[in-house]
């Protein structure tokens, strides 16, 4: 569709006090005289019945592109306008009349500039064409891991009508729960041990017609993207030779429920002989298999046990995170001991006793048992006598003094470590191995060798075996848990369509895994449904645009493949990006990365934003009206600007705000554009970055901060003051800082003077 076929319409709202604060006729003149818009109408409201009237006009007039100058775009629902009409909203109310004095010349100039910017934008916007994968997207869900979380996710997804493939590495389903004698309580009154119930769940899954179970199998390779994942199933070695290909199939989304492994603290202890110091999982297995508790070394029937909880209680560094089940497990196992023998004694030493929520009731029940003794304390000494009994000394106890107890057996709480691999580390390791051999310089080779040394423990840890440029597994967060909750959304990972759940996502017990897995199943279903409609997933859920690459101009610089936080792009041996559209989250970070500016969306491109910037009427130096470009992240900074208006904070008449998808999508050319157009400075508003990042696209604002440094170099080359570019990290609730930021920047411009290129 070319511009000549477009019919652009402008609606200018006179309600909300806009008519009192602004010269509406002059605004109309901008549209009709400057931009020659064929249709311009004033309306007294652009919500509710007003919106219905606008929609009626759109269809009556056959408008294809519409600008509504009135209230913030954030006031409209996604489906407020017909799908095939391009509509842009100009928030004159929030960002002009609520923050600037009414009736003044500068206020009017701001309103007219915004109208120009958005008219320019809609002129360049193209209608969206849904992504066509050429083949039908698959709707099967792959669940990796057959423990309580995997089984639950499989059943939930299958019950919702989706085909499920369940892959389990061992030769039977059930995971840790199948190895348990009893579960701690999951329902009121939260006091009694329960059957695990895993048997029934396994039966239900195995009998379900929608679920195909593959035991003794692993995912040898996963190629592709949501809707198009091609999975190669290989044998895990039980029965058939390990690594042998079993089956190949395609799935639409993946749930990773690979569970946990015990974190054995015994290696860090300096007690000497660790015979008969067993882990909680060992005790569980013993009770499950033998029905009684005996001492491993001599088979003596155990009459007393010391349970040692995590970290500080055995003089080790406290663990970095709570595994959430160890306290409950020790209370449960103390009950096992007491059930069999009314004179048996169980001592539980802890630094923290954590029985969250209603599990407190279970704690109370255990505490009430005359033979269960609970104390905070630190074990200072462990010795054994001739008959094999342990003598434990503990300090800092509840009894107010150091105590000494004798027990037959010591059981240590083993916390949860995720069964996960750090995909990015494995990829870095692989790259470093290549550099070690092919590196440009000796120094690079040495650095690579050091990196290999540091990371080699990641070798062979692969689980999913994704064929992704950015590594074979999900990126890891702190403590080795896979990325699974970016900006507060559980299960959402940086690998679109792959959802970790259960104990691999965060330490969680059986009951928690059931809830968690149900959520992950819903996420996988959502992925399949939205992907099949060509829509983006979280956080730009529903966005039907996707990036198009003008491959003829690609220089294979790999910046897009490196910088995409979601691993959307694979690359061939030469470094040519290979698009996997259904992995894309539409953040536009690639668009900011590309030095050749070959990447664009139909409704968002480097040129389009550049045009918006240039559409502003920049007064010349003698008018003493500076202009400052604000590139604001749509997710937090732009809403914060709205909030600033809602709170009637004082704005600056000199700023012109351009919302962008993510600050990471900022292309440095926009800064050059602004400087050439005569702006006196640029303020970049993005989310917080670093360890506790708030960026909706993980690395966007961080990348922007790197890029603006490069932009400053450019300024330096242009012999301009570096201070003309500022980057601020801003959370949505920090909108009260905005007036200060603008005021300071105005003062700065006054101090360093106007842009020397102004008017050139």
């Amino acid at each position: 569709m070319t511009e000549s076929e477009d019919k652009i319409g402008v609606f200018i709202c006179t309600g909300y006090g806009l008519a009192e604060a602004l010269d509406i006729d002059a605004l109309c003149a901008v549209a009709t005289d400057e931009f020659k818009v064929p249709f311009c109408k004033t309306v007294d409201s652009c919500e509710g019945p007003g919106l219905d009237a606008i929609n009626a006009d759109i269809s009556a007039e056959g408008l294809t592109k519409v600008v509504i100058a009135g209230i913030s775009p954030r006031r409209y629902a996604d489906n407020a306008f017909p799908d095939d009409v391009i509509v842009e909203m100009v928030g004159l109310r929030e960002q002009v009349i609520w923050v600037l004095p009414p009736g003044e010349e500068d206020t009017q100039m701001a309103a007219e500039d915004y109208l120009r910017m958005y008219l320019t934008k809609v002129r360049e916007m193209l209608p969206l064409v849904p992504f066509d994968p050429e083949v039908e997207l698959d709707r099967t869900i792959l669940v990796v891991g057959g423990g309580i979380a995997g089984l639950t996710a499989a059943r939930e997804a299958a019950e919702s009508g989706f085909q499920v493939r369940l892959v389990e590495k061992s030769d039977q389903l059930g995971g840790w729960l199948a190895k348990q004698h009893r579960s701690f309580p999951t329902r009121p009154p939260y006091r009694d041990l329960e059957e695990t119930g895993i048997g029934e769940l396994i039966e239900a899954v195995e009998a379900h017609s929608g679920i195909t179970v593959h035991t003794a199998a692993t995912t040898g390779e996963i190629v592709g993207a949501p809707g198009l994942f091609d999975v190669t199933l290989t044998s895990s070695g039980n029965g058939k030779p390990a690594g042998e290909t079993l089956e190949q199939f395609r799935v639409g989304a993946i749930i990773q429920a690979t569970g946990w492994k015990p974190n054995d603290p015994r290696g860090d202890l300096s007690w000497g002989d660790l015979d008969d110091v067993i882990l909680n999982v060992d005790l569980e297995a013993m009770v499950k298999e033998e029905g009684k508790i005996t001492r491993p070394s001599d088979g003596k029937e155990v009459k007393s046990i010391a349970f040692l909880q995590c970290g500080g209680c055995v003089g080790l560094e406290p663990p970095a995170y709570c595994s959430s089940i160890c306290c409950m497990t020790s209370l449960k196992q103390a009950m096992y001991l007491r059930e069999g023998d009314e004179d048996a004694k169980a001592f539980i030493f802890y630094e923290f006793m954590r029985t969250p929520g209603l599990y407190e009731e279970f704690y109370r029940k255990a505490q009430d048992d005359p033979g269960i003794f609970l104390t905070r304390g630190e074990i200072s000494e462990v010795t054994r006598n001739g008959s094999g009994n342990f003598t434990l000394r503990a300090r800092d106890t509840m009894l107010g003094e150091d105590i000494e107890v004798q027990v037959d057996l010591v059981v240590m709480a083993a916390g949860m470590a995720p069964n996960a691999a750090d995909g990015e580390a494995i990829r870095t390791l692989g790259d470093a191995r290549v550099t070690m051999v092919d590196g440009d310089s000796e120094q690079k080779k040495e650095e690579a060798a050091q990196l290999v040394e540091d990371l080699k423990h990641h070798e062979g840890t692969e689980i999913l075996n994704l064929v992704y440029r950015q590594g074979p597994d999900l990126p890891a967060l702190e403590y080795g848990f896979p990325d699974s909750h970016f900006i507060c959304f559980p299960y959402e990972s940086r690998r679109t369509g792959i959802y970790p759940t259960g104990a691999v996502r965060e330490p969680v017990d059986g009951a928690g895994s059931i809830d968690d897995a149900t959520g992950a199943a819903l996420k996988a279903i959502q992925c399949i449904e939205m992907t099949s409609r060509g829509e983006a997933l979280h956080p730009r859920a529903g966005d039907r645009s996707y990036p198009e690459f003008q491959m003829s101009r690609c220089t294979k610089c790999k910046r897009c493949t490196e910088e995409c936080p979601f691993g959307m792009l694979n690359e061939d041996v030469e470094g040519t990006p290979l698009l996997q559209e259904t992995r894309c989250r539409r953040c536009g970070i690639c668009l900011g990365a590309c030095p050749e500016r070959i990447i664009s969306f139909r409704d968002y491109s480097v040129h389009m934003i550049g045009s918006m910037i240039k559409a502003v009427n920049v007064p010349d130096e003698w008018d003493e009206k500076p202009r400052v470009l604000v590139l604001a992240c749509e997710n937090d900074a732009f809403p914060a600007l709205d909030l600033m208006g809602e709170h009637r904070l004082k704005g600056s008449p000199w700023i012109r705000v351009v919302p962008i998808r993510c600050l990471g999508s900022m292309n440095n050319v926009w800064i050059t554009d602004a400087m050439s157009a005569g702006y006196d400075g640029v303020i970049l508003l993005g989310c917080k970055y670093g360890d506790d990042y708030q960026c909706h696209f993980i690395t966007g604002s961080e990348l922007a901060s790197v890029r603006q440094k490069n932009a400053r170099e450019k300024l330096e080359q242009m012999a301009m003051d570096l201070e003309r570019i500022e980057l601020h990290e801003l959370a949505i609730d920090e909108f009260r800082q905005l007036p200060g930021i603008f005021e300071k920047f105005d003062e700065l411009i006054e101090e360093i003077g106007y842009n020397p290129f102004k008017g050139m």
């Binding site: 500080g312 004179d343 005359p370 905070r376 300090r395 107010g400 003094e401 150091d402 105590i403």
Partner: protein, 417 residues
Amino acid sequence: MATVETTAPGTPETEEQPQLAQTARVRPMKVDPDLEFIRALRRSGGESLKKCFQCGTCSASCPLSPDLHPFPRKEMAWALWGLKDQLMTDPDVWLCHHCNDCSTNCPRTGRPGDVLAAVREQSVQHYAFPRFLARWVTRPAFIPILLAIPAVLLGLAIRFRDGIGNALGFSPPAGEEIVYSFMPSLPHWLINCFFGFFGFLALVAAVIGIVRFSRGLRGSSVWGPDPQPVKGILSSLGSVVLKILVHDRFTQCETDHSRSISHFFVLFGFLSLALVTFWIITGPVNPLIGSDFIYPFSFWSPWKLLANVGGLAVLAGCLLMIWERLYFGHLAGTSSYFDWLLVWSIFLVVVTGFATEVLHYLRMVPHRQVIYFIHLVFVFSLLIYLPYSKLSHLLYRTTAMVMAERFGREAGEGAKP
């Protein structure tokens, strides 16, 4: 659950826990929980003992607790770990007057007051001589035998009255020489001799119990590392008796304030009855009375009046106790069999006593004789079982209070350094 102790790992515990650290032994305390002891405490009113999570609210709310090594928090810790030895040697268990301020304030619905009462019951069993009698008074199954012993002994005394009289030099009664008695077959001299003899045995048992107990208390850690007496024994005893008489401790209770009233009535009722009894027994030989002693007293005699008022006081106090325990258990505390046994014994003693008196005025002689015999059985039980029943608190609590007074363990003050 909340972590109660806030001592950071790695910091010296002596700085963080001034309250308890001083009791810390150089060598760690050997802990071997006595499960049977825990079960016994739970059976006799201490059901809630395991609920404790050591927050210390009980000690903070106790009006009687000293600042140094306060109770009942440490007693709760010892109880829930089954540390019988610690509790048996602990004077604080007896400094507690069971006013239940701790129990009403416990955030875990524990009842430290009731737990301490259960510990006291165990303590009596632990120190009493002979122990089996102390066990009998805690079990309903032994009621028949406990009542049979005094009944049979009294019966034997009647049966062998003449022989005993001859042996002791009391002439067999001739008609004109009969000293007035509610039951001619049981004359006063016989009652005096009989009660005197068994009273003496009870006294011996009591002394053995007290000696064992005070030896045990010396081993307690609450006195500090090198305890020095701040008062003599007699002056300690003097101030303790004064405190008991004015109900100095009971009156500080908030939760169960009425206990000070009921106990006051019962105590002073008994004291006046004891005084009258003493007067009667010693009457003929007491130089203070001399020949003025006229027995039986007329109804309006001051002694008779004192006895009747005393009896009524005991009855009133006792009824108040029963009423409290039946209807205000959450304030008065859990009443174990051990508690009820004493309360009902006193009640029956008073009721049978007044019944005898009424039957006497009604001239219903045969009835009077039967009731009087029953009355004597109850009085006798109260006397001989004193070292074992809950009445033994007058021995044990007084001893503990005297020691606390002697070593300066004062409410709100703490042991002198």
